[in-house]
């Protein structure tokens, strides 16, 4: 059966002479002392200081005794031959020892005392609540009248407390209001009325039930109305009251009809709600008389009672269902309470504060939002036209056209087809390319300002539609899985850069973070997970990549700040990247430049050879990569030989001039791209996270699927794109949404690296600055609300997907 019963039986079975029996005696002694304790502590502090001091000392001694006794008992129990019983007794004794310790701390430390008080109070309160709730629910199956009676009494108790709570508080604080005469006695009276009403109502049937319901409801309502707080007395206005009641009655009736329920009940319930709104929601509270309050609450009670009386007496099946439902609610109550206290309430409050002025005093409507969007540092789209003539846009158009062209070629290689949709898309891409070149060179200035942007957007949309349609019709051999797809990926990246370099401000920085960091971290993580899978030294490689995850963002930010550090030209560069950059230049102008050039050229030759071999073996990717590296090395070598400087050192008029790169502390060299340098640490940290999860997902792909694919002649690449990727799609969703949510809230990295200077501000840091440095909680909350609203859709998608998966 249950653990407690087993325990009880077996403890009494212990041989009284054995060590476990001794432990049991110790336990009993401890329990006795504990009881003395409770009595002693009751007197502690409650009476005059001398007795307090005595009980304090007494308690200390008792606490020490209990602790010692517990330890002793535990020692004896554990030293005895190992049995289930002796272990259990030992554990109990240990618990006793811990109790002694806590009690001692309780006496010694104020902080512990507060904590112990709250824990004990909380446990006692919740035990009481749950025991009562349990008894109450038991009654729902045994005696319905008793159940309704208890429910009525409980509701009455609650109402009574609500009615006098303010007064009781006022009595307590010494600020009693105008109607102090009614006081705590009201609580039992209302509870009693509720209990009687509940019992009678639960026991009555048919017409009697209706009468009891209306009469009891009206009576309770009148009683409550009579004792309503002065500040809550409504001044009734007939027209809105009746209009609201009638309106909601009709609405409730229609709703019930639509849902296939009883029309009358719906109408009555709607009418009750309308009456509540009309009587207490609409008019100014505090201006009315007691009579009006009695009328308002009485009719409300009567309507609610009528609704209750209309439903038939519950049969056993109803009761069982009701019991189950209530138990569920009670089971969820702790979690819901916690959620609402820690999450829902602060969120609501933040949103509320965002409509108040800086000190949360007056209501200012949307002014805070208007203010923040009026800040060019927050939202600046004045350069939108430049997007379409920027170098990034040109690169985007080029990569797009190239990618689509490569896809056509690949498709032709596969099955000799030239898909018309791709041809159209490629043609449109060419238009984009030529147009952006023309725009860059000022050839389109004669056209209306918005002409070329509109054409561009239309062209991009057309391409997206065409490619999407093509992909839908050709899910298998699309030709987009090879280099063409890669080029399209680069195109997407370039488009993003084109947009975010021109649209500036905190809001766009955050968006940029979300798009770039998420795609890069997830993409890199997936690539590494796929490539490292079953490779040599897989776990070592993955461990190293996962390692940054152990760092805090603050730590990562500081590390990368040092990496990017720039020093004046006279001083040695202490930042790693600038040391390399300037060191390379210094090497090129030193007397060892010749030797270095020879080495670099030799490396270039080796790389070129490697590329050649790779091309011969038809491994094109490796070949291209090595070939480009070889070209770059050859160029570097030639620069070394030319002797007019390279990288961080340029020779001007025969003199070497050093210049370090300002990665993050300014926009002179990299423009808005300093944001990207701040994003790198984040990518560095989160790639490991994505990799680990993807790696697990990849390992979870059934091996028979992969083997079947390979038997059918799939290459490794095809196996990845066609088998692994579809299998891990849900995981991709999880990783992407997780990273998006984390990136949205990015704060520490920016705070540490630039503190939002040089156009790198993000929402979370802006919120912090506005609220806690400027002391403007209105605007700060507005920024927090914007952040919250922008996270919502992602969370929605995430939750929907989880629900779908669960279903």
């Amino acid at each position: 059966m249950t653990a407690t019963m087993v325990e009880r039986e077996t403890i009494s079975d212990i041989d009284p002479g054995g060590p476990a029996g001794a432990a049991r005696r110790t336990l009993m002694l401890g329990g006795g002392l504990f009881a003395v304790f409770l009595v002693a502590s009751f007197f502690n502090g409650a009476s005059d200081p001398e007795i307090g001091a005595v009980t304090q000392t007494l308690q200390r001694i008792l606490a020490a005794l209990i602790g010692a006794g517990g330890i002793l008992g535990a020692l004896r129990a554990f030293r005895s031959p190992e049995t289930v019983m002796s272990r259990r007794v030992g554990r109990l004794a240990l618990g006793l020892a811990a109790t002694g310790l806590v009690w001692w701390l309780y006496l010694e430390r104020d902080g512990v005392r507060g904590a112990v008080h709250s824990v004990v109070l909380a446990l006692v309160l919740s035990s009481v609540i749950f025991v009562i709730a349990n008894r109450w629910l038991d009654q729902s199956l045994r005696s319905w009248a008793r159940f309704t009676g208890i429910s009525g009494a409980a509701l009455g108790l609650l109402l009574g407390v609500l009615l006098v709570a303010n007064d009781a508080m006022g009595l307590f604080l010494g600020t009693v209001g105008s109607r102090a005469d009614r006081s705590l006695w009201l609580i039992p009276v209302v509870a009693l009325v509720g209990g009687v009403f509940g019992t009678v109502f639960g026991a009555s049937e048919g017409r009697m039930r209706l009468i009891v319901g209306v009469a009891g409801g009206a009576g309770t309502g009148v009683l409550i109305g009579a004792f309503l707080r002065t500040g809550s007395l409504p001044s009734l206005e007939l027209v809105p009251l009746l209009a609201a009641t009638a309106g909601f009655a009709v609405f409730g009736g229609v709703l019930a009809q639509v849902r296939g329920r009883d029309l009358a009940r719906g109408a009555v319930l709607g009418g009750a709600f309308g009456w509540l709104l009309g009587a207490f929601g609409f008019p100014e509270l505090g201006g009315g008389t007691v009579l009006e309050a009695m009328l308002g609450a009485g009719v409300l009670g009567a309507l609610v009672g009528l609704r209750m009386g209309l439903s038939p007496t519950r049969d056993m099946g109803d009761r069982l269902r009701l019991e189950g439902r209530i138990r569920t609610i009670i089971f969820l109550a702790p979690a819901l309470t916690f959620l609402s206290a820690a999450l829902v309430v602060p969120t609501m409050r933040t949103i509320y504060i965002s409509f108040l002025e800086r000190g949360s005093d007056g209501f200012v409507g949307l002014d805070n939002f208007r203010f923040i969007f009026g800040q060019p540092s927050f939202y600046n789209v004045s350069a939108w036209r430049s997007i379409f003539g920027s170098i990034e846009f040109l690169a985007f158009a080029f990569a797009l056209t190239l990618g689509l062209g490569l896809a056509i070629r690949q498709r032709r290689d596969i099955d000799g087809l030239v898909p018309p949709r791709l041809v159209v898309a490629t043609g449109t891409g060419l238009v984009l390319l030529l147009g952006s070149i023309a725009d860059r060179n000022g050839l389109l200035d004669a056209l209306p300002v918005a002409a070329w942007p509109l054409v561009s957007i239309a062209a991009i949309l057309a391409i997206v539609v065409a490619v999407a349609d093509y992909l839908r019709r050709n899910p298998g051999n699309s030709g987009l899985s090879g280099p063409g797809g890669g080029a399209l990926g680069i195109a997407a990246l370039m488009f993003m850069f084109a947009v975010f370099v021109q649209l500036r401000g905190t809001l766009f920085n955050n968006l940029w973070w979300v798009v770039l960091v998420t795609s890069t971290a997830a993409g890199l993580g997936l690539a590494i997970a796929a490539l490292a899978d079953r490779a040599r030294a897989e776990s070592a490689a993955k461990s190293i990549i996962f390692m940054p995850m152990a760092l805090s963002f603050v730590g990562a930010g500081i590390i990368w700040r040092f990496m990017y550090l720039a020093r004046p030209q006279q001083d040695p560069q202490t930042g790693v990247l600038n040391a390399l950059w300037v060191g390379l230049g210094n090497l090129a102008v030193s007397d060892r430049a010749g030797t270095a050039a020879l080495i670099i050229l030799a490396v270039a030759a080796l790389l070129a050879l490697f590329a050649l071999l790779a091309f011969q073996q038809r491994s094109l990717g490796t070949g291209w990569f090595a070939g480009l590296l070889a070209l770059w090395a050859a160029w570097l070598g030639s620069r070394f030989l030319a002797g007019d400087g390279v990288a961080g050192v340029q020779v001007v008029d025969g003199e070497p001039v050093t210049s370090a790169l300002l990665f993050i502390s300014g926009t002179q060299q990299f423009g808005a791209y300093n944001n990207v340098f701040i994003m790198l640490p984040f990518v560095w940290v989160y790639t490991g996270f994505a990799m680990v999860i993807f790696s697990a997902a990849i390992k979870g792909v059934p091996s028979d699927l992969l083997e079947a694919g390979r038997v059918d002649g799939a290459t490794e690449a095809q196996a990845f794109w066609r088998i692994v990727l579809p299998q891990i799609r849900p995981t991709i969703g999880v990783v992407v949404t997780t990273i998006i949510v984390v990136v949205m809230k990015v704060f520490d990295i920016v705070k540490v690296m630039t503190n939002g200077n040089f156009g790198t501000q993000v929402l979370a840091n802006e919120m912090w600055n506005r609220a806690f440095i400027d002391g403007n909680f209105g605007v700060g909350s507005a920024v927090a609300t914007i952040l919250f609203l922008s996270v919502l859709p992602v969370m929605y998608v995430n939750i929907r997907r989880m629900q779908k998966e669960a279903a």
Partner: protein
């Protein structure tokens, strides 16, 4: 029965924990010293006491055993240590236990504490704008009139004006910084026979000569973490006082003259045209905006640049950079040249003590700190600590404008600053500190953007106007 009981065990435990967690939260503030007025049981300890007697009573031991918590931004061994020494003296004299806590994140922390209804008893607040904000929100207490009178009598007229809102004074000046100081490398000036210039134009001419002689004239760096940009705002204030005048300065401070005003924009452009002259500025962090303001001390001592403009508290930075100050030391001190129109304006700054708990021990401490005795105690303690840290005779970094001080607490260089502060006219308080926090921060941030060349001065200053 048994089954149902068990079914409830889990939620029961969970709810217990939740309630415990909530109750624990609610308990904590109660456990810490209550911010509310002294409990009624103590029969209002100080309502009957004449305000001017508070310090006297405290010194007589009337409030022995009580505590005052003080919160501030000073954290260095020398500064925070000296303040703790001062509080120890106060404890010895009165038996009041004052405890100081310093935080690098002072402003946001203080805001959070106040918002959380858990403010310190007293805070050392640098920005009068912040004090006035708290006063408007009703979170800081007005200083009793008798104490204000007593303190005002010891300081130059108008010292506590920045802390006045609607006729009530909400804070009292504690430390006063003298900002209009030109620090220079003695060896460079002596070797090349340079003279200390007496006007802005002479200063520019000297800078040009230095560049021609192969010397980098200026050390400038304005990085300061979350407050990056404030040294630039100091330069702006100096130059508005010099190139325009103090009336415009006041209007500008109050917001009646905007940042977009051509006179203000011109001053910024003048400063930046000097800074951006090739070879003019040594910035050890690569750019002016990336160089910590404290990193200017070492190159000036080493002769990598010849001049630097910074407040008198910067002395402690030279101390830790291993440089000595004075006519015979590594670094010389002079008044930052005037505009050349006969006026000799002085820019000041400093911090103030403000109270958040209405209790006699708090007011007693506040009175004592601003009194000559407390100010001298701080200067002595800080001088001792500075000497221990960087050798005898080091400048303390503390400065006071209390007129009743014994001048012998200062070293010779400090004494000249003390005298300058006493006689300065026109003297003006740091404008950015007087602005509301949002405008102050925009001034820092947008100023940094302008210094960095990310924005034109006109654009950056228009953004400051839009920001508040």
């Amino acid at each position: 029965m048994k089954r149902t009981k068990l079914r409830f065990a889990a939620p029961l435990a969970a709810l217990g924990l939740v309630i415990a967690a909530c109750a624990g939260d609610a308990d904590e503030p109660a456990a810490s010293p209550a911010p509310a007025p002294a409990p009624a049981a103590e029969a209002n300890p100080w309502d009957d006491i004449p305000e001017e007697d508070i310090l006297g009573r405290a010194l007589a031991g009337a409030y022995e055993g009580r505590s005052v918590s003080v919160f501030g931004s000073e954290r260095s061994e020398v500064e925070a240590g000296a303040f703790n020494d001062t509080l120890a003296l106060f404890r010895e004299a009165t038996g009041i236990n004052a405890v100081y806590t310093g935080s690098a994140d002072f402003e946001p922390q203080l805001n959070v504490m106040i918002q959380g209804n858990n403010p310190p008893d007293m805070a050392l607040i640098p920005q009068p704008g912040g004090v006035r904000g708290f006063a408007a929100a009703g979170s800081v207490l007005a200083v009793p009139a008798a104490i204000v009178e007593r303190t005002n009598a010891q300081f130059p007229a108008g010292t506590n004006d920045p802390y006045v809102v609607d006729g009530s004074t909400y804070a009292l000046r504690y430390k006063t910084d003298l900002k209009s100081i030109l620090w220079y490398n003695n060896a460079i000036f002596a070797d090349n026979g340079y003279e200390i210039p007496d006007s802005w134009d002479a200063l520019k001419a000297l800078s040009a000569t230095m560049i021609a002689d192969g010397i980098t004239p200026w050390c400038v760096g304005i990085e300061s973490g979350g407050a990056t940009g404030w040294p630039f705002t100091d330069w702006m204030e100096e130059m508005v006082l010099r190139l325009v005048d103090e009336n415009v300065y006041d209007q500008w401070t109050a917001g009646d003259v905007t940042f977009s005003d051509p006179r203000i924009v011109e001053v910024a452009e003048e400063i930046l045209s000097v800074w951006n002259t090739p070879g003019m500025v040594y910035a050890s962090g690569g750019t002016i905006a990336a160089t910590p303001f404290g990193a200017n001390a070492e190159p000036l001592v080493n002769g990598q640049c010849a001049m630097h403009r910074q407040a008198q508290f910067f002395a402690s930075f030279f101390d830790s950079a291993g440089g000595t100050i004075g006519p015979d030391g590594d670094v010389g001190v002079a008044y930052f040249p005037a505009g050349g129109d006969g006026r000799s304006p002085v820019l000041t700054a400093g911090n103030s003590v403000a109270a958040f708990r209405d209790a006699p021990e708090v007011w007693a401490l506040m009175t004592w700190l601003t009194d000559a005795e407390g100010q001298e105690a701080r200067q002595r303690a800080q001088a001792t600590r500075a000497a221990a840290a960087s050798g005898p005779g080091a400048a303390s970094g503390f400065m006071s404008s209390n007129a009743n001080l014994d001048p012998s607490v200062f070293n010779p260089v400090e004494r000249t600053w003390y005298e300058t502060l006493a006689s300065a006219s026109p003297a003006r308080f740091d404008a950015s500190d007087l602005m509301v926090p949002a405008r102050n921060r925009a001034f820092w941030d947008e100023g940094t953007a302008a210094v960095n060349g990310d924005k034109s001065v006109a654009d950056a200053f228009a953004a400051i106007d839009a920001a508040s």
